[in-house]
């Protein structure tokens, strides 16, 4: 199509895009318009008044054809000219960025490695492309993968880079060539971007400086047949013994309908495995794998699909994830406003779980409390906590059947802050004094709940409803919905005194129930500030332990509560917490380190002395100070440069006035990345968008021969203005001859000649 255009219009479309069409005649425009108008009128009059047997329609057609021919002729006489800016030869620079990553060893469209075309084109033997470019531009070569650097020739490329950082490459090349007239950057890559910096941020300076990027895409868009572990969703920290569901996303091409095994390995040991039938080509298949980790400490889990025969990229069949398995006891406060069976059976359900300590404060009469599982005689001696420090030392809170009026206004706000500021988990249980029936509407605590409160029932006992419970789709894919592999179908109905039917925006229902004709929410959750809130508006989950239909050794009640409470406190922050920018880097790659430091009331501290002690695999320990970020209270940041491959331990210590506020630890895996082999097909959309957003063009090896000419007319760099005649475009002659021929033919057809 582009060739046809060029034949008709003399030049390629890009020249018309970059240039401007002007009329080159020196005649006054008024005279020209007048002359053309006179000719037109004369033609119309001639056809109109001439006698003969021609009908009006025929005269109209003939007059139109004649006028059109006159119009084209007039256009040619006006000397149309294409004005374009063209670079001054050898006065401008072009940066050529060559992908030096491992993925260039993968097969291209012709079966040869992708780098083969690059080596042939930019190699020492030279090529037409290089010759054409060199004719007009000074060329500067760069290689890029995780880092970018200047090279003199392609011989310096090893194609062993473990990352493709397009943004970094463009930024670096632009910066290096900022002081010279730059006509554009030529990016030769498969586009398998996996750098840390967003590409959109990197192109803004290029747009501002009007530097176009010309991208040359290498490789096939799809590698067939191939299967890859695209993504693994697993928490970074998990309590020992917690049953979790890990989502493994598998994508494939050319293997639709096959059944494969997904193995989960911890070192040489296979922890578990799951079979999955693959979906249609290109469609991701989510494999949900139940997983329980019992060994404490950092575990490097490998999720692997055994390599299939003939796979294009065997290296993308496995992904590794680092999971820190903790063995600390999570303390949860359960405040119950009255003696209830739910409390007894909840305690029994989790008593064997060494990682959960459910401290119970139970009101047995006004201002009289019973305490269970307290650490010492002082704990909760005065009843429900009255200070943030006292409440915030718990990581989870369960609120039973206790009316809102029991709490002071400050305590209600404190409950809200427990979730919002402290980041704790709050579970609301149903009961005669819970939710709307407990008078929580309009309080600070209502905001925390994951659902809206309805009008309270005038008589809670009359609001009694039996509820048959089942998991929602979200619940089925949640650890709480698994029941340790047990079924929900044969569980007896529960009961509720609290009508809850409307979720808040952003909340998710995991369990619902049918109460008569109405669907009730049985378990829902949402994020609130730094923490999460759960609502369970039923009053007797203990029936799933005691009911006659439930076998005495049925574990579902215990499993439900253990999962629920472990999830409640999962991810609850300590006063000092630490985060890494990335959990896996390459040796020599900088790691961002940030820490949050709060006091016991969870108010950010800005005057703490925060240090990070990094234990390297060799055993060496380095110390790194973290500075207050200024932007947010209690936020500290810094970075360090790991040089050794292996697992690095990072411990952050926060001190103030000589006293220790707290410590937090995390781990960092340092080693070569396999990212290059994932999604390794040519990413045409990304390369095309990159080019178009900067004013450049996208090419393949087949179309790249146009690049030198396109570069000439970008307008970037040192340019001069060229004027090119358009009156002699073939289209002009074709139109004039065509129109006149059509007129003659029409006359012949109508018998007028």
């Amino acid at each position: 199509m582009e060739g046809l255009f060029e034949f008709l219009f003399k030049y390629r479309p890009v020249l018309f895009q970059e240039g401007e069409v002007v009329l080159g005649t020196t005649w006054p425009i008024g005279i020209l318009v007048g002359g053309v108008a006179l000719l037109g009128i004369a033609a119309v009059v001639t056809y109109g008044v001439t006698g003969g047997k021609a009908r009006p329609v025929e005269r109209t057609v003939l007059a139109t054809l004649r006028l059109a021919a006159l119009g084209v002729l007039t256009f040619a006489l006006l000397q149309p000219t294409l004005v374009i800016s063209s670079v001054v030869p050898q006065r401008n620079f072009v940066g050529i960025l060559l992908d030096d990553s491992r993925s260039m060893n993968l097969p291209g469209e012709d079966g040869a490695p992708r780098r083969a075309w690059m080596e042939a084109t930019f190699g020492p033997e030279g090529s037409e492309l290089i010759d054409a470019l060199s004719e007009r531009f000074a060329l500067r070569f760069f290689r890029f993968s995780a880092q970018t650097g200047r090279v003199d020739g392609i011989g310096e490329l090893g194609f062993q880079g473990t990352r493709t950082d397009l943004a970094g490459a463009l930024t670096r090349a632009h910066e290096e060539l900022a002081s010279v007239p730059l006509s554009g950057l030529v990016l030769v890559s498969d586009g398998a971007e996996n750098g840390a910096q967003p590409l959109s941020e990197a192109i803004i300076p290029l747009q501002a400086a009007s530097v176009p990027v010309y991208s040359v895409g290498l490789g096939a868009e799809a590698l067939v047949p191939d299967i890859q572990v695209s993504r693994v969703e697993v928490p970074g920290t998990v309590m020992k013994g917690t049953a979790m569901l890990v989502d493994v996303v598998v994508t494939q091409r050319g293997l639709a309908g096959r059944t494969v095994r997904v193995l989960v390995e911890d070192g040489p040991r296979i922890v578990t495995e799951e079979e999955v039938e693959l979906g249609a080509d290109g469609e991701p298949t989510v494999v949900r794998i139940p997983l329980t980790l019992e060994e404490v400490g950092p575990r490097n889990l490998r999720f692997r699909i055994p390599v299939l025969d003939g796979e294009a990229v065997p290296e993308n069949n496995a992904r590794e994830r680092l999971v820190d398995v903790t063995d600390q006891t999570e303390k949860i406060l359960y405040f119950e406003g009255e003696p209830r069976w739910e409390m007894k059976f909840l305690r029994r359900a989790v008593e064997d779980d060494e990682n959960l300590q459910v401290v119970v404060l139970q009101r047995t009469a006004p201002d009289k409390f019973q305490r269970y599982e307290v650490d010492d005689g002082e704990e909760l001696l005065g009843g429900f906590p009255r200070t943030r420090e006292e409440l915030f030392r718990y990581r989870g809170l369960i609120l039973g059947s206790v009316e809102a009026s029991f709490f002071t206004r400050d305590q209600l706000q404190m409950l809200s802050d427990f979730v919002g500021d402290r980041g704790g988990g709050l579970l609301f249980l149903g009961g005669r004094n819970a939710f709307a029936e407990g008078g929580y509407a309009g309080t600070a605590v209502e905001d925390v709940m994951p659902f809206y409160l309805e009008e309270p029932a005038p008589d809670a006992r009359a609001a009694f409803q039996s509820v048959s419970v089942s998991p929602t789709p979200a619940g089925q894919s949640h650890p709480v919905g698994q029941l340790g592999g047990g079924s929900w179908d044969d569980l007896p109905p529960l009961s509720t005194l609290n009508r809850v039917v409307r979720l808040k925006p952003g909340a998710t229902a995991l369990l619902t129930g049918t109460a008569g004709e109405e669907e009730r929410i049985v378990l829902a959750h949402h994020r609130f500030g730094r923490g999460k809130a759960l609502g369970l508006p039923v009053q007797d989950t203990w029936m799933w332990q005691m009911h006659a239909d439930i076998a005495v050794d049925d574990p579902r009640h215990e499993v439900l509560w253990r999962q629920l409470l472990r999830w409640l406190v999962d991810g609850v922050p300590d006063p000092v917490s630490v985060r890494l920018g990335r959990e896996r880097v390459e040796p020599g790659e900088s790691v961002e380190l940030s820490a949050t430091v709060m006091d016991s009331a969870y108010i950010g501290l800005n005057d703490a002395r925060v240090t990070a002690l990094v234990t390297h695999p060799s055993g060496a320990v380095t110390e790194q100070s973290l500075a207050w970020s200024v932007e947010e209270d209690g936020e500290y940041g810094g970075s360090f440069l790991p040089r050794e491959p292996g697992t690095h331990g990072v411990v952050v210590r926060a001190e103030r006035a000589g006293g220790l506020i707290g410590e937090a630890s995390t781990i960092l895996q340092v080693g070569p990345s396999q990212e290059e082999y994932f999604d390794a097909g040519r990413r045409t959309p990304l390369l095309r968008r990159l080019a178009e957003d900067t004013g450049g063009r996208f090419y393949t090896p087949a179309s790249v021969s146009n690049l030198p000419e396109d570069l000439r007319f970008t307008g970037a760099g040192v340019t001069l203005t060229e004027e090119r005649d358009l009156w002699d475009m073939p289209i002009v002659l074709i139109l004039i001859l065509g129109l006149l021929g059509a007129e003659w033919g029409y006359r012949r057809l109508r018998g007028m000649v």
């Binding site: 406003g337 009255e338 003696p339 209830r340 069976w341 409390m343 007894k344 059976f345 305690r347 029994r348 008593e351 119970v360 139970q362 009101r363 047995t364 009469a365 006004p366 009289k368 019973q370 269970y372 005669r432 006992r461 009694f464 039996s466 009961s495 007797d540 203990w542 029936m543 332990q545 005691m546 009911h547 006659a548 239909d549 439930i550 005495v552």
Partner: protein
């Protein structure tokens, strides 16, 4: 027990004579391992009472008598009044009385089964006070359920008394075993003497084989859950209490609280032996019944409920 005192003495005299004629030996082994003088005054008195008990037509478990098939607890419930507890879950707590089978025969008062002793007034009165002492959502009416009724699993607190003639059917054994293993809590009350204790031990061994009956120490949570109790009082029946007479119903019987514990050392069954908490609840409003016994009985009752609902 509401056996008239005169009748009891008459029975004692008759049966003592009969026993002596028949050559019944007098042994003293009230507590295992305890060595006592068999001819001391207390031992003799105790033995007399024991002989009375032995002479009563209560068969030993080995005799294998059939439970009373003609006993219709529902008829008794209808007699006692409305027992409609709806779905069983309109209220958090039901004071649930165990209906159990017992040995056939008896001494005339057997027309009313022993499980229903003090029923339902004791239940009502206990619930009235319970509702006032602690913030509990308790159903104020009686609630009696057979041990072999699956409905019993809806009520994790169970009260049984006068178990000296208890003789559980296999269905009741299974029902009570599942109930206790699932997390239910059983309170035994108002049974006196070693033989009654032996019968209970035999029945409980059928229900929970391998679990022993052990004394509950005074520092156990059940004595401190709501009220701190520092001694176990012997609570007399209404007759003895009104008269100000001896609190015991058997010679030299001391009150004790035994328990059956689960694998985590939690109480599954609490056994109030040689005491009658039920009569103290039932007659608490009687001006002639000493308040101190009712006070203790209610404290113990509240503690048992609070313990059952928390452990």
């Amino acid at each position: 027990m509401r056996l008239p005192v005169s009748t009891a003495f008459a029975l004692a005299a008759v049966t003592l004579a009969g026993a002596l004629v028949a050559g019944v030996s007098i042994r003293s082994s009230e507590r295992p391992g305890e060595v006592r003088d068999p001819w001391s005054p207390s031992a003799v008195g105790e033995a007399l009472v024991r002989v009375v008990t032995l002479a009563l037509p209560v068969p030993t478990p080995l005799e294998g008598q059939e439970p009373t098939p003609e006993l219709d607890p529902r008829a008794l419930l209808r007699e006692a009044g409305d027992n409609d507890t709806g779905s069983g879950r309109y209220w958090e707590f039901y004071f649930t009385r165990a209906i159990y089978s017992e040995y056939q025969g008896g001494w005339g008062w057997g027309r009313r089964a022993r499980w229903a002793t003090d029923y339902p007034k004791a239940d009502h009165q206990f619930l009235i006070v319970l509702n006032r002492l602690i913030a509990i959502d308790a159903y104020g009416g009686e609630n009696a359920v057979r041990l072999d009724d699956p409905e019993i699993r809806r009520f994790p607190f169970l009260y049984a008394l006068e178990v000296s003639r208890m003789n559980l059917t296999e269905g009741e054994v299974q029902g009570l075993r599942d109930y206790l293993d699932a997390g239910g809590f059983l309170v035994i009350d108002d049974f006196w003497g070693e033989r009654a204790l032996q019968n209970l031990a035999y029945q409980l061994n059928r229900v929970l084989p391998g679990r022993s009956i052990r004394p509950v120490p005074m520092d156990h949570a059940i004595f401190n859950t709501v009220y701190a109790l520092d001694e176990i009082q012997q609570v007399p029946n209404v007759g003895n209490g009104r008269r100000g007479g001896p609190t015991t119903e058997c010679w030299g019987c001391e009150p004790m609280v035994f328990g059956v514990f689960d694998d985590r050392d939690r109480l599954m069954v609490v056994i109030n032996w040689n005491t009658d908490l039920g009569d103290a609840w039932e007659w608490a409003e009687d001006p002639w019944y000493p308040l101190q016994y009712s006070t203790f009985a209610y404290k113990m009752g509240v503690n048992m409920v609070a313990y059952a609902m928390s452990h």
